[in-house]
């Protein structure tokens, strides 16, 4: 059992900076320079880099780690420019409270949107390059030679002419006293030594030896445990509760009526959970108990006929072009609500001591956790410490902080006692922020040569941005609801995308790949329908309709088709499907090879899935993300759906929200095809082309066009 020291901040509370006018102007991201002169402490060259006398280089990581691997790949960017010896690099978390204290020296900490690398690469590389130049300058000064004659490599600065060299550990103290260069030149990609290498993830040894501490593992001396229940009907409130059956039970400390939920606090979690089952709770649910999946579908259908729609894209004159097209196709697609079902359910340990609050939780955004915790407890933000923990899966669920709010509400009610709140699997399944369901209607018009002249896409779906974040929607469009439609890459002269915002009482949120988890499935299946109607090969049809407009989409499509030997011979009964997508700054494509039995058994013989992320920082990790996307994607494609009856989610655990099993995993061939010149995301985009490639292959094999997911509803199952 590891006890976590609540006073641990991950950083010594000294130094940092001359907070000058630049700080107020936000110019100082990662470049808060240490104050000079405390020789007893390890020299910090900037917020990101600390070098010890034994040559250990400590690089800070300001995002969270949930299996996506960027705790390794983001520091690689720093280390490469620093010319560090990777074997001597140690990675430590930057913390939200330190970020607050330094007026956001570490910038954005949100680990969302596949953006750790693409949004921070520039300032991380600059941090490394700046420190490198300072180390070189320190060595040059010591030797009395021009800095231009010195070079840095593998954690050392060398002067070739005099055959002298000094390790970074010996130079760091002097270097930290130097003024940082205002401008640094970043390396040419051809000179990268660490970026582009397949390096093992730094957290793997601790994971496989059980040493890593996830949010759920937090242990604090004297800690109590809480089990919680919110209204099964969404947005219900506690009308009354009777805890008389459990209040005097052994180990039960308190039963809390928190209005929005009930918590049982006990000296172990199982006692709390079991007692909670016997607390009689009467919920006030109003009319919300009437909601069903059918009611929601009727609302979506009504959206299709809605008079006023938000227009997300309007090129040319689509209505007119559809009227004159030689061939017109129409189809309606549906994707269901999905739960994240992360391996580790929602968890929050909180300890309020006077005006001081400590929080241990699995969060995708420690700054959001800090702000929510402070607001909930009513303490000052600088009195809150958010302890970095590894996440047992995130998938977008652990970005909104509803669970932190609950945990801190309990800690406030139990002021002085640390309390670990853990959701049961059932609570987690039934109180998710679900991937929205979506109904989409396509109408496409082609000429006699199979060139698409007009495409009308109408989306009827809830808005995450309007309901969860309550953001204003420019022109009424939720960009996630229409993602991959409003920015489709096809060279179609007339494109109309419109949107009916149909919100329900089912809370929605960001599920890995968000709008790209569903819209590309529908788009690329409809493209296949048009290819079939035009009598064209699906790859040739796509290439012809992409034209010259989208060279990166074309490049990844061709790379994956080549890797899959598209058009080559296949065993009898095996068929292929293809799709290409783009999102999070990257370009992806997929080919699936399947056979389908008369009974509906789908055997996936091979998945060839590829990505062009611009630059591939850690190819092995990218391959893992592609494989992981197939695991996560196939579970959703075959079985994933959350249905609503009596205002609540019908599913409750993995017996009715099935995950793919180990023996069902198909062969995956990963194609990493970086074309350079840009930085794209990796964690999410590869999931997008899987569903359409698979459903297109199923259509080729069985003649059955799949216009809604999951496949189990079409009598199909995944054959191991």
């Amino acid at each position: 059992m590891t006890h976590l020291d609540p006073s641990s901040t991950g950083l010594a509370r000294r130094d940092f900076l001359k907070v000058s006018a630049t700080a107020a102007a936000g110019m100082s991201l990662g470049f808060f320079w240490p104050t000079h002169g405390n020789a007893a402490e390890t020299p910090k060259l900037n917020a990101w880099i600390e070098i010890q006398t034994d040559d250990t280089v400590i690089i800070r990581y300001a995002r969270t780690e949930m299996g996506q691997g960027s705790r390794t790949s983001a520091p690689m960017l720093v280390a490469d420019e620093l010319e560090a010896d990777w074997k001597k690099v140690r990675i430590e978390y930057a913390t939200a409270h330190e970020n607050l204290r330094t007026k956001r020296a570490y910038g954005d900490m949100a680990t969302v949107g596949s953006r750790t690398i693409r949004n921070s690469q520039e300032y991380l590389r600059k941090a490394g390059a700046t420190a490198r130049e300072m180390l070189i300058a320190a060595a040059a000064a010591q030797w009395g030679v021009p800095a231009s004659e010195c070079t840095a490599a593998l954690g050392k600065v060398s002067h070739a002419a005099s055959k002298r060299s000094l390790s970074y550990g010996k130079l760091a103290a002097a270097a930290a006293k130097l003024e940082a260069p205002k401008e640094v030149k970043l390396k040419d990609p051809k000179d990268w030594k660490i970026i582009g290498k397949s390096l093992p993830r730094v957290d793997i040894p601790d994971i496989v030896t059980g040493k890593i501490r996830y949010g759920i593992d937090a242990q604090v001396p004297g800690m109590m445990y809480a089990a919680v229940a919110a209204s099964p009907v969404f947005n219900g409130k506690v009308k009354s509760l009777d805890a008389s059956k459990v209040e005097n039970r052994r180990g039960i400390v308190k039963v809390l009526n928190m209005g929005e939920f009930v918590a049982v606090v006990a000296n172990n979690w199982w006692r709390a959970k079991e007692a909670l089952r016997e607390v009689a709770i009467d919920w006030e649910t109003g009319d919300n108990g009437q909601l069903t999946s059918a009611v929601i579908m009727n609302s979506f259908k009504a959206g299709m006929g809605q008079a006023e729609l938000a227009v997300a894209r309007n090129d040319g004159n689509t209505v007119q072009a559809l009227g004159t097209a030689a061939k017109v196709l129409e189809a309606e697609y549906f994707t269901p609500y999905l739960a994240h079902a992360t391996m580790e359910p929602m968890v929050c340990t909180a300890w309020l001591q006077g005006d001081k609050l400590d929080v241990w939780t699995s969060t995708q955004n420690p700054e959001n956790t800090l702000a929510v915790a402070a607001a909930t407890a009513g303490v000052a933000q600088d009195k809150v410490t958010v302890h970095p923990m590894q996440l047992g899966g995130g998938l977008g669920r652990k970005s909104p902080q509803d669970f932190t709010r609950q945990g801190v509400m309990i800690a406030k009610a139990m002021a002085g006692t640390p309390v670990k709140m853990v959701w049961s699997r059932e609570e987690d399944m039934q109180h998710d922020l679900y991937r929205p369901a979506s109904l989409v209607r396509f109408k496409g018009g082609m000429d006699n040569d199979g060139k698409v002249q007009a495409l009308h896409i109408r989306v009827s779906a809830p808005s995450i941005l309007a309901t969860l974040l309550r953001l204003p929607l420019p022109k009424g469009v939720d960009g996630q609801a229409v993602a991959s439609f409003n920015d489709h890459p096809y060279d179609i002269p007339n494109s109309l995308v419109d949107y009916a915002q149909r919100n329900t009482n089912v809370p929605v949120g960001f599920w890995r790949t968000v709008g790209h988890s569903q819209n590309p499935y529908m788009r690329e299946c409809f493209i296949d329908e048009m290819a079939l109607a035009a009598g064209k090969d699906p790859l040739a049809f796509r290439l012809a309709n992409l034209g010259q407009k989208s060279p990166r989409d074309v490049a990844i499509l061709q790379a994956v088709a080549k890797a899959a030997d598209w058009g080559g011979p296949l065993p009898k009964g095996v068929f292929r499907g293809i799709a290409e997508t783009e999102g999070y700054g990257s370009y992806t494509a997929c080919v699936c090879e399947v056979s389908v039995s008369d009974k509906g058994d789908v055997k996936i013989h091979r998945v060839v899935i590829g990505i062009d992320p611009g630059y591939a920082v850690n190819p092995d990790n990218i391959e893992a993300q592609l494989q992981g996307s197939v695991v996560h994607g196939l579970s959703a494609i075959f079985w994933g759906e959350m249905t609503i009856k009596d205002g609540r989610i019908e599913q409750s655990n993995f017996h009715d929200y099935r995950m793919m099993r180990l023996n069902e995993m198909p062969v995956v061939k990963a194609v990493i095809a970086p074309t350079g010149g840009f930085w794209g995301g990796v964690g999410e985009p590869a999931q997008a082309p899987l569903a359409p490639a698979l459903c297109n292959a199923i259509a080729a094999a069985s003649g059955k066009r799949i216009r809604s997911l999951p496949l189990k509803n079409h009598g199909m199952s995944l054959k191991a």
């Binding site: 107020a24 100082s28 991201l29 910038g107 949107g113 969860l468």
Partner: protein, 176 residues
């Protein structure tokens, strides 16, 4: 793609260099721009793909109101959060140094948003009868941004202060 807030602010301040018709003194101007001076090019501030609207430059926010009158960054104070847990109800306090006499007082205070669909969040009429030029409110903000409190004095001069506020994200708000 969502740009880190610091970069957004940098672009914004860069764009502010293009502000015209400012009567601000050189020293004041330098204070406003801080370390952003000398960055070279003057691109137009963009919303960087944010769905919640266009990021306005400082001049785009101030010019329509000050209309060429002298504007100085001094004497206005803001108290708000650094991190807001959400954008729905952000506490915000502003006060202006002023004797608030009949001869020398604040006439108006504007609360301006760089990112909200409606830039002028509030225009408050004040006068010597109030004794103090001060207000507390809660703001609804469409994401992290720079906020401006602008005060008009009875002399016709304008004064302002900026606040840098991050609305911590509860998810991925970029459309890509």
């Amino acid at each position: 793609m969502t740009t880190p807030p610091a970069a957004l602010r940098r672009d914004w301040l860069r764009a502010s260099l293009g502000a015209t018709a400012w009567a601000a003194g050189r020293a004041t101007f330098a204070r406003v721009l801080g370390g952003a001076l000398g960055l070279g090019s003057l691109p137009t501030a963009q919303a960087q793909g944010m769905l919640s609207g266009k990021l306005l430059s400082l001049s785009e926010m101030l010019d329509p109101i000050v209309a060429g009158a002298p504007v100085v960054r001094a004497g206005v104070h803001i108290e708000t959060l650094i991190l807001a847990d959400n954008g729905l109800s952000v506490p915000f306090r502003v006060w202006v140094d002023s004797p608030m006499t009949a001869q020398d007082h604040v006439t108006h205070i504007w609360l301006l948003s760089q990112r909200n669909p409606v830039m002028v969040m509030a225009k408050i009429h004040v006068g010597p009868q109030m004794g103090r030029a001060e207000l507390s409110t809660r703001l609804r903000l469409a994401g992290g941004q720079q906020l401006v409190a602008l005060a008009r004095l009875s002399s016709g001069q304008f004064r302002y202060e900026l606040a840098d506020l991050i609305v911590t994200e509860a998810g991925c708000v970029d459309g890509s």
